[in-house]
C-alpha cells in the first residue's frame, strides 16, 4: 500500500525555450520546501526535475513534469512529445549525447543527464517510443 498523496501538480514545459529552462524546477523546489519535505529529498528531487526539464527543452516539442508528494516520498514524471530514444541503453551511458551545440553552450549535453537522474533517484524508469516521446518516472524516498 502506498502512502497518501499530500500534494500533486503538473507543469507544462515548452521545447526549445532555452532562456527559461529551469523555471519549473525552481518552482517545484520552492513548493517542496514549503511542504516541509526534508532537505536531502528536496535537493535530489530538484536535481532530477532540472535534468528532466533541460532534456524536454533540449529535445522535445513540449512536455509535462508532474510531481506527487507523500509523507515519505516524491515522485516525478517527465513526459514529452518528441523524437523519442531509439536505444535507451546507449542513451543511459555517461558521455553519450546527441545534443546540439546550443545545449552544450549552456553547460549541458555532455551525456550526463539521464545518468544523473538515475543516480539521484531511488526508483528510475524510462520508456520511449521513437517519433512519439519519452516518459521518465523517478521516485525519491525520504530517509
Amino acid at each position: 500500500m502506498s502512502a497518501e498523496i499530500i500534494y500533486e501538480d503538473s507543469f507544462p514545459v515548452e521545447g526549445g525555450s532555452f532562456t527559461n529552462a529551469g523555471h519549473v524546477s525552481s518552482r517545484i523546489k520552492t513548493i517542496l520546501k514549503s511542504l516541509g519535505v526534508g532537505n536531502d529529498t528536496v535537493r535530489r528531487a530538484s536535481i532530477v526535475t532540472y535534468e528532466s526539464e533541460i532534456n524536454i527543452v533540449s529535445y522535445a516539442r513540449k512536455g509535462t513534469i508532474k510531481i506527487a508528494v507523500t509523507s515519505d516520498s516524491v515522485e516525478i514524471d517527465a513526459v514529452d512529445e518528441g523524437p523519442g530514444i531509439a536505444d535507451i541503453e546507449q542513451a543511459m551511458q555517461e558521455g553519450f549525447s546527441t545534443a546540439p551545440p546550443i545545449v552544450r553552450e549552456m553547460g549541458f549535453g555532455a551525456g550526463m543527464g539521464l545518468s544523473n537522474m538515475k543516480k539521484y533517484s531511488d526508483v528510475f524508469e524510462i520508456n520511449s517510443e521513437v517519433g512519439v516521446g519519452t516518459h521518465v518516472t523517478m521516485k525519491i524516498v525520504s530517509l
Binding site: 523546489k29 535537493r43 536535481i47 553547460g107 555532455a110 543527464g113
Partner: protein
C-alpha cells in the same frame, strides 16, 4: 571565509549580492559543465565557472550554491544578472583564470566540496579559518 574576503583575494567585482558579502563559505567546486556541477557540487559551496548563461544561476539555485565566481574576466549577460538578483544568488567576476582562482582560494583555506569522485570524503571546510 566571507565573500568579502574572497572578493579581495580575487580582486573581484561584485555584480550581484553586495548585501550578502558577510556570507561565510568553506568549500568550492570548479567546472564549466553544469551536469558535472549537478552531479558533484554540495550545498553552501562556491561555484567557480567560466560559463555565464542563466543556467549557471538555475543550477546554483537548485543546489543552494552560496555564490557564483565567474572567471576569466567574463561579464554575464543581463538575463543572467536579472535571474541572480531575483533568486538572490551573489555573482562576483574575477580576471583570474579558473586554475589561478581555484589555487588562490585553496591556498587561503577554501577546499573542494568533495576531494575526488567515487570517494566518500565530503569536505565541510577547515574549522580554523
Amino acid at each position: 571565509m566571507t565573500l568579502s574576503e574572497i572578493k579581495e583575494i580575487l580582486d573581484a567585482e561584485v555584480l550581484v549580492g553586495n548585501d550578502q558579502m558577510n556570507k561565510e563559505v568553506k568549500t568550492a567546486f570548479s567546472a564549466d559543465l553544469m551536469s558535472d556541477v549537478l552531479a558533484f557540487a554540495k550545498p553552501g559551496s562556491l561555484l567557480l565557472t567560466g560559463l555565464t548563461n542563466p543556467q549557471v544561476v538555475r543550477t546554483s539555485d537548485i543546489l543552494d550554491i552560496a555564490a557564483i565566481i565567474v572567471v576569466r574576466g567574463k561579464i554575464p549577460p543581463q538575463e543572467t544578472i536579472r535571474l541572480a538578483e531575483e533568486l538572490k544568488i551573489p555573482i562576483l567576476t574575477t580576471r583570474y583564470i579558473l586554475f589561478e582562482t581555484s589555487g588562490r582560494l585553496h591556498a587561503r583555506g577554501i577546499v573542494g566540496c568533495i576531494e575526488k569522485v567515487g570517494g566518500d570524503k565530503i569536505n565541510v571546510g577547515r574549522n580554523n579559518l
